[in-house]
């Protein structure tokens, strides 16, 4: 067995600690060690965006991040956005606009969109496309995803 290392980081606002092989990806640590299954292994090579998380507020594909790189940092997944009674505007608008079909890509899109709206609460359609161009939705919900993001931006502005 390879040597194990202890990694501590903040996951959705709570401190977590795991003992893992140092080369394990953040994606697999989240799924296998921490039970966070919203991060999806759509390709495991950084092509599809389904495992996107916020790392210190920046969107990264967790399949290309080694867990040892997140020591002391903050990781946010959709489980950490909003609550049942107080959802994130993106979660609301994705449902309202029909931007969810099979739903497998949805958490990654919401996280990538959240990163965009954290920087810019009034993005243009082109900017939304740019920010989400690393995420694939094979159901083709793209037009609705764009609408959901623009609508959520409006709600962020009013917050």
């Amino acid at each position: 067995m390879s040597t194990l290392v202890d990694i501590s980081f903040t996951l959705n606002g709570r401190p977590v600690k795991v003992r893992i092989p140092p080369a394990k990806t953040l994606l697999n640590v989240l799924r296998e060690d921490l039970g966070i299954t919203s991060v999806k292994p759509g390709c495991e090579t950084g092509e599809c965006g389904a495992c996107t998380v916020l790392l210190d507020g920046e969107p990264v594909v967790s399949c290309l991040v080694l867990a040892s790189q997140v020591q002391g940092r903050s990781v946010i997944t959709v489980e950490g956005l909003g609550t049942e009674g107080n959802p994130d505007p993106l979660q609301e608008t994705f449902v309202e606009e029909g931007a969810v079909q099979c739903g497998y890509c949805t958490p990654g899109f919401i996280i990538a969109a959240r990163a965009l709206l954290d920087h810019d609460k009034n993005p243009s359609v082109e900017e939304v496309k740019e920010a989400l161009s690393g995420n694939i939705c094979r159901c083709g919900a793209y037009p609705r995803i764009i609408r959901a993001v623009l609508k959520a931006a409006e709600r962020y502005r009013w917050r």
Binding site: T37, L90, F94, Q101, G140, Y142
Partner: protein, 776 residues
């Protein structure tokens, strides 16, 4: 669930118009945006083994020996299975069981499974799989339709390389072609398209205390999967449970067996929970794909544009095994004359074996290929005659109830006529100035897609349970929701039928232990099939519970009426809720659960030589595509796609629109960019870097206009929206490219490589290039 109404629709309005036509948010929306939905590949079981598949590296080879001794002895290995470990029949396949579960003597495509390994962890499974020693004697592969049919080609099956050959004709097609005023003769080629669903094929299996094998995997027909598992394991059906919900996309690619039988075998042999998930690359190599076609078309018309004859030779590459190939060929046969009046035709159709993987169902199921051919033919005839492209369609389209090529009408109401009417004026609206090397073109194509299996018997069954304790209605059906929204549309149908708030309705989807067999989610029929069965079950529930209500009310049952959740009788005091009536029934030990089966209307016998021709219910869609062609870069970009469609009454308009938009976007991928290329029966583009699907940056503006007909056999008038938006896109895009450049693409996809050849062959590219070089 916590949701808001869409802004345009107030709760009052929805209650006024009922649940049909209400764009309620999808029932599974909230768990999906919260990350709570657990997909089959997310499941983790205690002491779960991890499985790997040992696969053939050769496209065609004899297996000389399989030696598992080294793998057997490796640490952590729980099982190494080969063909000799299969207790029942070592064959599977949706229509004909011709594919080995584990190859015994011959392999016929790269990646064909030869052995299975299960171990305590993924790494141990990978190492053991590598240690299985298979000795092959490579054979010459069959790499194309042409090669498969050439004399002296290796025979892939004992019956030869032709899996099916069907000729259907009417009238005197050859002489009618000769006497036609105008004839268009073209060969079309379409490509292999990959489903590329985001969740790869995979799932888990385990054995209950009572010995039942549970298989949870993304699929499209859990009861058929269960039947196939039972044949291979030699176990009775009641020993097997299959759950196929949710799935991270399917599009036809999870309709036939993927991992289900392998999972069941491993769980059965080891007695332990097992997980088997294909990697993206594995999915790319061995997952199903859309059949590549070669179509030779000769279509004639009179001077004034009336179609006289159609000669069609269709060749479909099914790969190593049949899967759905014969039924897909049927749909192509049925679609190759379009919805048009063609008095003389001859269709000569071949399904051919090659070593190019295994082709299977994919959204459209043989219709997109045929549509690309016939609609391109029609556009060319219109061009030759100087006719309006909508006019030539209006002139030739079959009237309502008018028998078509296969003896039945393609519509019962004048829906195509209304679609063509709406399209009027839209084709001439183009005129966006072409700039520099960029040319804008507009194109059109008309499509239809059968709903259901046509002449193949199909009796979808479903159940409704009235739960008095929780005051909920539970709808049970098994055709899976893999994103298309069938659980939401069916909840609306049940709410409407029982006149209850939709929040009172819950859905249990795609679990063979809990629900009767509703059949597959495929053929644009999931809402049509499950909705109809649930409607009948709801009626049974009301009829049966009226007896309980009568007993409580002390009146004869014949006097009891039902309205908005309550039974009452004229003259009697008070009323009884449906839940109280159910409680009364339950109090005597009867479960208030009601089943019903629906028979999808069909002709008793298929057209001779086919399995499922004809269909009786069709959805229709016309696509208008605007495309920019950059002559210098030989690049076509779809800018705008407008669909005018009749998919019957809309149960959930937002859901229906989402299906239409998604279908159109996948269609744009098929038209312009997607191709799984095979070279010597080997494919290299097997992931998202090498197989390019449309991203958010590629999508055109998509708009959808519904001509809402009411299908008399549909639940509240619904038909199906899943496939028809995909079908006309390639032909419409090709027509737009022809409009922009003057040359017409006849091969898919219309990517840079093919476009540059096309433009060069038309003399477009060099002339323009030279002018550019001269500084013009």
């Amino acid at each position: 669930m916590n949701w808001r109404w869409p802004e345009s629709t107030s709760l009052e309005e929805v209650l006024k118009v009922h649940w049909i036509g209400a764009s309620i948010p999808r029932l599974d929306g909230w768990p999906k945006v919260r990350g709570e939905a657990r997909y089959p590949t997310d499941l983790v079981l205690e002491e779960m083994l991890h499985a790997k598949t040992v696969r053939s590296p050769h496209p065609h080879a004899k297996i000389l020996s399989v030696d598992t001794s080294e793998a057997d002895g490796m640490p952590g290995v729980a099982a190494v299975l080969t063909a000799s470990d299969i207790p029942g029949q070592n064959r599977y396949g949706a229509l004909v069981q011709d594919a080995p579960v584990l190859a015994e003597d011959v392999v016929r495509y790269i990646g064909e499974p030869v052995a299975l390994v299960a171990a305590v962890c993924e790494e141990a499974a990978v190492e053991a799989a590598e240690a299985v020693n298979v000795e092959y004697q490579p054979l010459r592969p069959v790499t194309s339709i042409e090669e498969a049919l050439s004399p002296g080609a290796p025979r892939l099956h004992s019956t030869g390389n032709v899996a099916r050959h069907t000729v259907i004709s009417r009238g005197s097609p050859h002489s009618a072609i000769e006497t036609s005023d105008v004839v268009v003769e073209t060969m079309y080629r379409t490509q292999s398209q990959k489903h590329m669903f985001l969740e790869p094929e995979g799932g888990v299996a385990w054995i209950d205390e009572d010995g039942t094998i549970n298989v949870v995997a993304g699929g499209q027909n859990p009861y058929r999967d269960k039947l196939q598992i039972s044949r291979v394991l030699g176990l009775p059906m009641e020993k097997i449970r299959v759950v196929s919900y949710p799935a991270g996309g399917a599009f036809g690619g999870k309709d036939d067996i993927t991992v289900q039988i392998h999972l069941a075998l491993l769980a059965w042999k080891t007695g332990k929970p097992v997980r088997l998930v294909w990697s993206r690359e594995e999915s790319g190599v061995v997952g199903y794909h859309r059949h590549p076609y070669r179509m030779e078309m000769k279509t004639g018309a009179t001077r004034d544009g009336r179609l006289t004859a159609n000669l069609a030779k269709i060749y479909s590459d099914t790969g190593a095994y049949q899967s759905f190939g014969p039924a897909i060929l049927d749909v192509s046969i049925e679609m190759i004359n379009g919805p048009y009046r063609i008095p003389n035709y001859e269709i000569d159709a071949y399904l051919v074996y090659t070593d190019n993987g295994v082709a299977s169902a994919f959204r459209g199921f043989g219709a997109p290929q045929a549509n690309f051919a016939i609609e391109s033919q029609l556009n060319m005839i219109a061009e030759k005659l100087g006719m309006d492209k909508l006019e030539i369609r209006a002139m030739n389209v079959l009237g309502p109830r008018e028998p078509g090529s296969f003896g039945v009408a393609v519509e019962t109401e004048p829906s195509i006529q209304r679609i063509l009417e709406r399209a009027r004026g839209r084709l001439s609206r183009v005129g966006t100035p072409s700039r520099g090397w960029s040319r804008r073109g507009i194109g059109v194509a008309l499509a239809m897609k059968g709903v259901g299996f046509g002449a193949i018997p199909d009796y979808p069954a479903a159940a409704i349970e009235i739960d008095p304790d929780r005051e909920r209605v539970v709808a049970y059906f098994t055709n899976p929701d893999y994103g298309q929204g069938v659980i939401t549309s069916c909840a609306q149908i049940v709410a409407e039928a029982l006149q209850l708030h939709v929040d009172k309705v819950e859905v249990v989807n795609a679990d063979t232990a809990l629900s009767p067999d509703t059949g597959s989610s495929s053929a644009s029929k999931s809402t049509y099939a499950a909705g109809n069965a649930l409607l009948l079950a709801a009626r049974n529930a009301v009829r049966r519970l009226a007896l309980e209500a009568a007993r409580i009310l002390g009146v004869p049952a014949s006097e009891v009426g039902y309205d908005a959740g309550f039974f009452s009788a004229p003259g009697s005091r008070g009323r009884v809720s449906i839940f109280d009536a159910a409680a009364e029934m339950a109090s005597r030990g009867s479960r208030p659960r009601f089943e019903a089966a629906f028979e999808i209307p069909r002709r008793p016998e298929p057209v001779e030589g086919t399995l499922e021709v004809p269909h009786l219910v069709f959805s229709h869609a016309l696509a208008i595509a605007e495309v920019d062609v950059d002559l210098l870069l030989a690049k076509a970009e779809a800018k705008d796609v407008h669909l005018i469609a009749d998919v019957g009454r809309l149960i959930n308009p937002v859901g229906a629109r989402a299906q239409m938009e998604g279908g159109a976007i996948q269609g744009v991928g098929y038209a312009l960019m997607e191709e799984q290329a095979y070279s010597d029966a080997r494919t290299e583009n097997i992931n998202f870097t090498t197989y390019i699907v449309p991203t958010i940056a590629d999508v055109p503006d998509v708009s959808v206009e519904f001509v809402e007909g009411e299908e008399k056999t549909g639940p509240y008038g619904a038909k199906g929206a899943g496939e028809v938006p995909f079908v006309p896109i390639a032909a419409a895009v090709a027509d737009a490219i022809a409009d922009a450049t003057g040359v017409r693409p006849t091969e898919l996809p219309m990517n840079g490589e093919r476009l540059s050849r096309l433009l060069a062959s038309a003399g477009l590219l060099p002339k323009r290039l030279s002018r550019l070089l001269e500084g013009a």
